[in-house]
């Protein structure tokens, strides 16, 4: 018990203890360090659970402000120099105070449960219910559960996210399983089909063997038939060939005959051309050359006469001699001109006769040339006619020969046909068998192909199934993991968080109930008026009732208010000490 007069320093001791343990908190250092002092310190010795501790904290004035210096903590582990915030952390741990170690925060537990400055005594009644509840939740460590719930919800979300990721990976699992199922069904179907095909193949083979045996029985006939069959077309071909040759030869004969007719038509006009002269062509040509020479001489003579006439006419006209330029008598020349003109007409007459002779001789020459050429051509045509006639004879012989051969070939062909007719039934039978064998072979081939295809399909399906099964195994593992994660999530949501919330409720209820009991105990001890009851509600607000009606604390008497505040403090002290395990003492100030 600390007892003393007013101002004797009871509060200072308590403030010093608070400072030593928790530091300045929201207090100002200047409020603790005596005015005028440059530095000061507090050394506190205390005991928790039988362990002794010494803690030292110091204050230093720096200019206008007072700041905390370093301090130390002495425990059975030795002496540790620590910064103010580190000291606070340690002390809170030692005292098991569940409070933030923020060096700027005050110790609520200490303030509520141990030491309340006088002036703050009634303040607890004036706080809003929210602030009070918040503060108390902290002091009672109930905030932890809220934090735990939030963190658990985060954790649960994380797990869900993982599970959803896995879901994404296994979303096609059923599809793959269905595929495997489908593949197995396919394989079974294919196997059934294959079995059928194999049976079918054997059937075909057996039938073919049967038919082939039958064919063997008909082997000789078949050879004969085969021979005949192979000869007949040959014969027919030969007949056709011969017929064709006859036709060709006949056509050639006709063509030659046409040609002969044409030649004869060409010979006829040639025979009509007659011989115009008995002279040879050489004699004719010589005569023509002579005449032409005579004609050129005459032409020259004509020109000389002409020029002489012109000169005489010029002299007569100009009356001057062209050679000596002496004047002459013109009458002298008229005779001359006349004489000459007579001479010129005679020459012109001779030349005309000459030209007419040349013309006639040239015509004879041409006719003779034509006659000779026609005679040559007629000779040629006659030679050609001879050749053509020989050719026609050649072909006629050939036609005769071919006709003879055709008769023989036709006889052979008829004989083969009648032979075939005799073997027709057997041949039909053989053909029937062969056709059947052919058909069967077709079907056998098809059946074998189908069987092969089925085997391939089965193999491929089996391969796919093996691949799919590996995938399925992997995905099944992931599915299990996702299920497990879902369970974890359910566990966290429905069990863990729900329980933590319940714990919080129960803890709060437990504390509230304990608090209410303690409060009523103290209240009833202090309040005289039995008509006024007081209790603590769920939000730790003190409720004062008269006849069941709520009373406004503000209008209660001073004594009543003090009693309520004190009861509240005492109850709080009891409960905080109980909750905060480290608080073994019953220290209350």
């Amino acid at each position: 018990m600390i007892k003393g007069d007013m101002g004797s320093g009871k509060s200072s001791i308590l403030m010093a203890i608070e400072f030593a343990l928790f530091g300045l908190g929201s207090e100002k250092g200047s409020g603790l360090l005596r005015i005028g002092e440059k530095e000061g310190s507090v050394l506190l010795e205390f005991e928790v659970d039988g362990n002794e501790y010494k803690v030292l904290r110091s204050l230093k004035r720096k200019g206008n402000s007072v700041q905390q210096g370093t301090g130390y903590l002495l425990s059975n582990e030795g002496k540790l120099q620590l910064a103010p915030s580190e000291l606070k952390e340690r002390i809170l741990k030692i005292l098991s105070f569940n409070e933030p170690s923020d060096p700027k925060a005050q110790s609520v537990i200490y303030r509520y449960a141990i030491f309340t400055p006088q002036e703050e005594m009634k303040a607890i009644l004036n706080y809003g219910a929210d602030v009070r509840l918040q503060t108390l939740r902290k002091a009672f460590m109930l905030e932890d559960y809220r934090i735990a719930s939030i963190n658990a919800a985060n954790f649960s979300n994380f797990i869900q996210k993982k599970a959803i990721e896995l879901d994404g990976k296994i979303s096609d699992l059923d599809e793959i399983k269905n595929k495997v199922k489908e593949l197995n069904e396919q394989i079974n179907q294919s196997k059934d089909l294959l079995l059928k095909k194999e049976t079918e193949t054997k059937n075909f083979e057996r039938k073919i063997t049967g038919y082939q045996k039958q064919l063997k029985d008909h082997e000789e006939t078949r050879i004969v038939l085969s021979n005949i069959s192979s000869t007949m077309p040959h014969l027919e071909n030969q007949i056709n060939e011969k017929t064709k040759q006859i036709k060709e030869a006949t056509q050639e004969i006709n063509e030659i005959k046409t040609q002969i007719k044409l030649i004869k038509e060409k010979i006829d006009p040639l025979n009509k051309i007659e011989k115009s002269t008995e002279m040879t062509r050489e004699a004719l040509s010589k005569e023509i050359t002579n005449l032409e020479h005579k004609e050129r001489e005459l032409l020259k003579e004509e020109n000389v006469l002409e020029n002489k006439i012109k000169d005489y006419e010029s002299v007569q006209e100009n009356k001057i001699c062209p050679t000596c330029d002496s004047p002459i008598e013109s009458t002298q020349f008229i005779d001359k001109i006349n004489k000459r003109n007579i001479e010129k007409v005679d020459v012109e007459k001779q030349r005309k006769i000459c030209l007419e002779k040349i013309e006639a001789m040239k015509k004879d020459n041409e006719n003779l040339e034509k006659y000779q050429s026609a005679q040559e051509k007629i000779l040629d045509f006659n030679n050609q006619l001879k050749v053509d006639i020989t050719e026609i004879e050649k072909r006629n012989e050939k036609i005769q020969k071919s006709n003879k051969e055709i008769v023989k070939l036709n006889t052979d062909l008829e004989s083969s046909k009648s032979k075939l007719k005799g073997l027709k039934k057997i041949q039909d039978r053989i053909e029937d068998i062969e056709s059947k064998i052919n058909d069967l072979n077709e079907e056998l081939k098809r059946s074998r192909e189908q069987a092969t295809e089925l085997r391939t399909r089965i193999n491929e399906a089996n391969k796919s199934i093996i691949d799919f099964k590996e995938t399925i195994n992997e995905k099944e593992k992931q599915k299990k993991q996702a299920q497990l994660l879902r369970e974890y999530k359910i566990w966290i949501d429905d069990y863990f968080i729900a329980t933590v919330e319940a714990i919080e409720k129960y803890a709060l209820l437990s504390i509230n109930s304990e608090f209410d009991q303690q409060y009523r105990k103290w209240y009833n001890l202090m309040i005289e008026d039995p008509s006024k009851e007081s209790r603590i509600d769920e939000q730790f607000s003190p409720i004062i009732e008269q006849d069941g009606y709520e009373q406004n604390v503000a209008f209660l008497s001073g004594g009543e208010k003090t009693s309520i505040a004190l009861s509240y403090r005492l109850a709080l002290n009891n409960v905080v000490q109980k909750v905060s395990i480290g608080m073994k003492s019953n220290l209350l100030i």
């Binding site: 219910a129 566990w491 069990y495 129960y506 769920e538 006849d547 069941g548 009606y549 406004n552 909750v579």
Partner: protein, 417 residues
């Protein structure tokens, strides 16, 4: 013909809240004014004029001013102590007013041979003889009644009045069943008028041998319960008794200072949220302007806490709607959720462990690791990790990652991360 006024249970100074305080004194002043107007011959107050032996002096001051005015009209005031304005240890305001000659205490008792003998006070104007017994707390006056010399009182002739501050058992209303009382047989017989006090309700009683046992009840209200009764329609006021040789007529003078309204709401089968919402809606419809509102909320909430039916919120709403004063009663309000929650451990660690253990059976999962003891163990470990606060200087992201990492390791789901 004479007449006197009979008042009781004024409880002046009982109310501390400004509105109630004002109405309380106004009712008194109004009653006194009526007495003056009616020119009553005297006023008789059957106890509890004041709420305490030393009441609020402001109220005393106002009351004394009025009493002085009454005296100026030559109307004497006769009083007995009530259960409230008497103190066995200290002087009462009644004594002071008596000494000052403002009022007259009528109880003059002496104990002789284990018998309580009472004297009569005679009103000089009317020759009415008045006597009586004061009230005591917790019905202690019953002892006095038991040793009262009734015979001498009964022998007295003339118009006699017996004033007392006790509930007579036979006349007690049912809602006061628990109130201490005396049987009528303890009263002296043959008085012209029995002026009762202590029962806070207007009562005009008749019993064999007792023609008239009257309780006027309070003028306004001394207690929240009075306010409730008032709001439920009980009339407040006092009696004016007309008499010659016998009582001729009893007249009740009603005093009504304010219009009250009573509203009761039963929350049963509703959660606190539902109830609050509905209640606020109902109150919204209520016409409360210039009224004294009495609100009683009762019943058992199906969920939530009673504190969630927040009185301040209700008050604010009604004040906004013009109510003059609001009195709220939540005494019979409880919550099923809280009632059914049993305390399942003394300390927090036990509660944690017990709840984890209790609930593990309810969870239907196949992972054996999370079931039974193993599940409880993991839950405890996980709580230890998840409840950690963000450290000083730790970034939020780092904090969340750290917690997540530790949680993953506890649940051993490393492979999935």
């Amino acid at each position: 013909m004479h007449k006197f006024a009979h008042l009781a249970d004024l409880h002046l100074g009982a109310n501390r809240e400004p509105e109630l305080k004002e109405w309380e004194i106004t009712a008194f002043l109004k009653a006194m004014n009526i007495c003056i107007e009616e020119s009553v011959d005297f006023i008789l107050i059957s106890g509890d004029l004041f709420h305490a032996n030393i009441p609020d002096m402001d109220v005393v001051n106002k009351a004394v001013k009025k009493i002085k005015q009454i005296l100026e009209h030559n109307i004497p005031i006769y009083v007995i102590y009530g259960s409230h304005d008497y103190s066995p240890n200290e002087t009462s305001i009644i004594d002071i007013l008596h000494s000052a000659g403002l009022i007259t205490k009528i109880v003059q008792a002496i104990v002789e041979n284990e018998e309580l003998k009472l004297q009569f006070v005679t009103d000089p104007k009317t020759d009415v003889k008045i006597t009586g017994l004061s009230g005591r707390r917790l019905g202690l006056e019953k002892d006095y009644f038991e040793i009262l010399d009734k015979e001498s009182l009964e022998r007295e002739k003339g118009f006699k009045i017996f004033a007392f501050h006790s509930a007579v058992a036979e006349l007690k209303p049912t809602y006061l069943a628990r109130m201490d009382s005396i049987p009528a047989s303890l009263l002296p017989k043959g008085f012209s008028y029995y002026a009762g006090g202590h029962i806070h309700e207007k009562l005009e009683g008749k019993l064999p041998d007792f023609k008239m046992i009257n309780y006027p009840g309070p003028l306004f209200s001394g207690y929240p319960r009075d306010i409730e009764q008032f709001s439920k329609g009980k009339r407040r006021g006092f009696f004016i008794v007309h008499f010659n040789d016998e009582v001729e007529k009893v007249e009740f003078k009603e005093i009504r200072i304010v219009d009250p309204i009573y509203f009761e709401y039963d929350v049963s089968d509703k959660s606190s949220t539902q109830a609050k919402k509905e209640l606020l809606n109902r109150l919204q419809e209520l016409s409360v302007k210039d009224k004294l509102v009495v609100l009683k909320i009762k019943g058992e909430l199906s969920g939530g806490t009673t504190a969630e039916i927040n009185s301040n919120e209700l008050r604010n709403l009604l004040y906004e709607k013009g109510a003059l004063y609001i009195s709220i009663n939540k005494h019979s309000l409880s919550s099923k959720e809280i009632e059914t929650m049993q305390i399942i451990g003394d300390d927090i660690q036990t509660i944690e462990n017990n709840l984890f253990r209790e609930n593990i059976g309810n969870i239907k999962i196949s992972a054996s690791k999370l079931k039974n003891n193993s599940g409880v163990k993991i839950a405890n470990e996980l709580l230890k990790t998840l409840r950690q606060e963000q450290k000083l200087n730790e970034k939020k992201k780092d904090y969340e990652e750290r917690i997540l990492k530790e949680s993953i390791s506890i649940l051993d789901i490393e492979g999935t991360s």
